[in-house]
Amino acid sequence: MSNMNAEKEIINNPVLTIADFKIDGDIKWCAGCGDYAILSSIKSVLVERGGKKENLVFVSGIGCSSRFPYYINTYGFHGLHGRGAAIATGVKVANPELEVWHITGDGDSMAIGGNHFIHVIRRNIDMNIVLFNNKIYGLTKGQFSPTTPRGSITKTSPDGTIENPFKPGELTMGAQGTFFARIVDTEPKRMREVFMEAAEHKGTSVVEVLQNCVIFANKIHAAITGKDVRDDHQIFLEHGKPMIFGKERNKGLRRNGHTFEVVTIGENGITEDDIMIHDAHDPDDTTHYMLVRMTLPEFPVATGVIRSCDYTDPYDQVLQEQVDLARKNSRIKNMDDLINDGNILEF
């Protein structure tokens, strides 16, 4: 690389530090809230990625999670309840050079913004959606959400909820999502790995963070994140690696007809060769769909990048290509041309 190129490289990819993203004011989440860990993981990823910090835009809807843009020094837009995905769509489609992050929660994107959530994924607009799933409405103080487990007692379900919860991963697959990951807020290193992959993905990436609300649903994910159970109750998936989990790293997932089963390596003649290899890049989402559906106690909960597949180009990129092509090919170059094109009458 010549000197000039190296210089150019530095201008285009300036070295960033955490301080670049620090805001002046206070962060107003509750002490002990899982959101802090997510914020700091995302900042680390932005620093690691480098690039022009002015090209970053954080867009959110409403809820505790959606205060996020106020707490990171980038361009930011705190929108309306549920509408963050639509606002982020407008930002990205208007200027595809921007890197857009959409921060949302289980109320914001699964209930009032459910429609926008599935459609942004279906269009595959190149943005990173980070879905803070604490399975409760926090900012309105404790009502059940579309991801609250059935039977939960909350302020609006004194006798237990009678609704079946959504799994964000299922909706993502149903909307033909090209990227889905699940992660817990207690594991910063894995969060960073997953956010990094999400940011690199071309198209809509959805990262569901199992996030703990200390006030209204404390320990809601304890069965998955608890120190003593996490290794047995979670399977962290990595592309190209066998689906092995457990404290002893001796449990794995094996295909059994139309479903999976949990097997133990070394028992009943099972070896590592019997264990499925994770293929996150498979365009066919059947296996990914089965992985996101796995629930305790029969199965461990799948975390990590479950699906990451580039089989279709992002909407914003394709639209920009259409615009560029039309501009090049049309004989109508400006408004005067358009006004005077076609059936003109002279008097």
Partner: protein, 616 residues
């Protein structure tokens, strides 16, 4: 073309109405004929009147589709009250339109469809040809269906396509009746059916057959000639309101240097704006067909944040859904244009019928203190000017602007004098230079109170905005009680300050008199025609047609002062009158209102005005 030596009478204006089943091609024949009259140098105004069902059962009243056209030598500002000539392709079309024809008018019917079965389907008890319904009219009973079929019999067309050409037979009669050039009509068909030469050929043949049929018909011994209009000079095209609005937005995009982004959801009668803009990628236009009305405007707000000239198009029910997001644009002080093509409501109402009942929704229909600029276009062609103006105000004042049109303007067309872009006013968006040390998100221009527009990607200007109340100047989130009141005041004052850049209210007629007719938006055509007629009769009557609704022009009070009486005419129950009363308590505002999903008739307006003038 050889013509018999029959009598040619010269007339000033003519109103023709085409009516038939939704699938009969009435919109096509109407468009084709207006194209021909425009080419012949006549002034014109059109109004398509179609049902909201795509193909209601054949022969029923619900399925009648109409296209009315007035063309003339003198001023033509409306599609006309009543028709001089009605083409009724079936009994339902006749029944639906008998009230809209002049006494003694020429009525051309497709006699092939006037059988027992058809007139009963239309709800006639007796055969309308026999029962005296048509007494006093010049009725032409043409076997349109059978002669059309016979004309194309040997061309190898399937029966459906053959029957579809029958509108051309009726049209051929009209071309003869008004001495219009068949060639222009044929060119239109060639362009329309370019991809299907056989269909084009068949249609042209049937058009000619209709013409020749008329030539030999005694019922049409007299034909009419309408001289070129004297009031038009220059280059023109025929344009409808939706296309004009779409083009106004593109023109503003070019003038401001900001690419146009439209986020919309299909809704009658506004959809054509999105369809037109979707074809304009070559001018840098991006259209986003959203999953709903809400996503449409929110995406537009996102695009505005990112630096586009952002717009959304909709109709009443959609405006209701967008209310929350308009509030977001108010508090984030971003420039967006909302084009609301009004239709008859509430709820789904009558989607294809015009009304002006979204005025108060546009002014007040949002959460909190949420003022926006409201404009209204008053003719199909000036939808261009007001879409341009709405964009200019939005970009220069950093406010959401609602532009009200209606189904009457959107679908109606007229001749539009072509502007030159060099003559259009400049648009200067409030952009900021990179690293401007003085930039603060809510620092304002002292003149307009508009904040500046720093765009993502720009260096040294990172900031965050959103729906929470902003601190004055810094734009930080604030729940401060005094700050909130200050911000409400600033947002309201910013909208009011737009008054400094809008023109004074014009008066058609003298500045003093017995009666001032007040209208707004899409009622201009009938109101100006009625006022003009009465002025000719020597009445002291004038018209003030408002395009700027919020803020109202500076001289509004002075306009009202000069008249003994004021009557506010609108296609709702009195919303503009209500608004004016709240601002000008010193005047008495009489009302004339119509809520039938129909335009005003000139005759009904004149009756009303005469009564008031006599009522001293």
């Amino acid at each position: 073309m050889n013509k018999k030596n029959n009598k040619v009478v010269e007339v000033e204006t003519i109103v023709v109405k085409f009516a038939g089943d939704s699938g009969d091609g009435m919109q096509l024949s109407g468009t084709q004929f207006s194209d021909t009259t425009a080419s012949a140098g006549n002034d014109l105004a059109t109004f398509p009147d179609y049902p909201s069902e795509i193909r209601a059962p054949q022969g029923t009243l619900a399925g009648v589709s109409g296209y009315q056209l007035q063309f003339g030598h003198t001023e033509v500002d409306t599609p006309g009250d009543q028709a001089d000539v009605l083409i009724a392709m079936n009994p339902a079309a006749l029944k639906q339109n008998m009230v809209w024809v002049k006494p003694g008018a020429t009525i051309i019917i497709d006699i092939d469809n006037f059988d027992n079965k058809h007139y009963k389907k239309a709800g006639y008890i007796e055969d309308p040809i026999e029962d005296g319904t048509l007494e006093g009219y010049n009725v032409v009973k043409a076997p349109i269906t059978s002669l059309s079929r016979a004309t194309v019999r040997k061309m190898g067309l399937d029966p459906k396509s053959a029957d579809r050409s029958k509108n051309q037979f009726a049209l051929g009669i009209i071309y003869y009746l008004f001495n219009k050039n068949l060639k222009t009509g044929e060119q239109f068909l060639d362009e329309k059916f370019g991809a299907k030469p056989i269909v084009a050929k068949a249609n042209k043949k049937v058009l000619r057959a209709g013409y020749h049929y008329a030539e030999t018909l005694e019922a049409l011994a007299v034909t009419y000639k309408i001289k070129k209009t004297y009031r038009l000079k220059g280059r023109f095209r025929n344009i409808n309101g939706n296309q004009a609005a779409a083009w106004g937005l593109i023109a503003a995009s070019e003038k401001s240097g900001r690419d146009l982004f439209l986020g919309s959801y299909p809704i009658t009668p506004a959809t054509e704006i999105m369809q037109e803009l979707a074809k304009r990628k070559h001018l840098g236009v991006k259209t986003f067909q959203a999953e709903d009305e809400i996503a449409g405007i929110n995406a537009a707000i996102g695009a505005a944040f990112a630096g586009s000239l952002a717009a959304t198009s909709t109709s009443g029910p959609g405006l209701a859904l967008k209310g929350e997001a308009i509030g977001l644009a108010v508090i984030t002080e971003l420039p967006i244009v909302i084009v609301n093509v009004q239709r008859a409501g509430p709820a789904t109402g009558m989607p294809t019928k015009p009304e002006q009942a979204d005025l108060l929704q546009a002014l007040y229909g949002r959460a909190g203190e949420s003022p926006v600029v409201v404009l209204a276009a008053s003719s199909p062609a000036n939808c261009f000017d007001f879409a341009f103006q709405a964009s200019k105000i939005a970009l220069e004042h950093m406010v959401p602007v609602i532009l009200l049109t209606d189904g009457y303007l959107a679908n109606g067309s007229e001749l539009w004098k072509l502007p030159k872009m060099a003559d259009m006013p400049e648009i200067k968006p409030r952009l900021v230079k990179d690293n401007d040390p003085d930039y603060q998100p809510y620092k304002r221009d002292p003149e307009t109170l508009a904040r500046s527009w720093a765009l993502p990607g720009q260096e040294g200007l990172r900031h965050r905005i959103g729906g929470l109340e902003k601190e004055d100047v810094t734009g930080n989130v604030s729940h401060g009680p005094v700050n909130h009141e200050i911000m409400i005041g600033l947002r309201a004052k910013k909208v009011q300050k737009v008054v400094d850049v809008i023109p004074d209210q014009k008066i058609t007629g003298k500045e003093n008199g017995d009666l001032l007719v007040v209208g707004w938006g899409g009622t201009y055509g009938p109101l100006v025609s009625a006022v003009r007629d009465l002025k000719k009769e020597g009445k002291a009557i004038s018209l003030a047609q408002f395009n700027y609704i919020n803020p109202l022009p500076k001289n509004t009070k002075d306009v009202f002062k000069g008249f003994k009486k004021i009557i506010v005419c609108e296609k709702n129950s009195g919303q503009f009158a209500f608004y004016l009363r709240s601002l000008f308590q010193q005047f008495e505002f009489l009302q004339y209102n119509k809520m039938q999903g129909l335009p005003f008739m000139i005759a009904e307006l004149k009756d009303k005005f005469n009564k008031i003038l006599e009522d001293e």
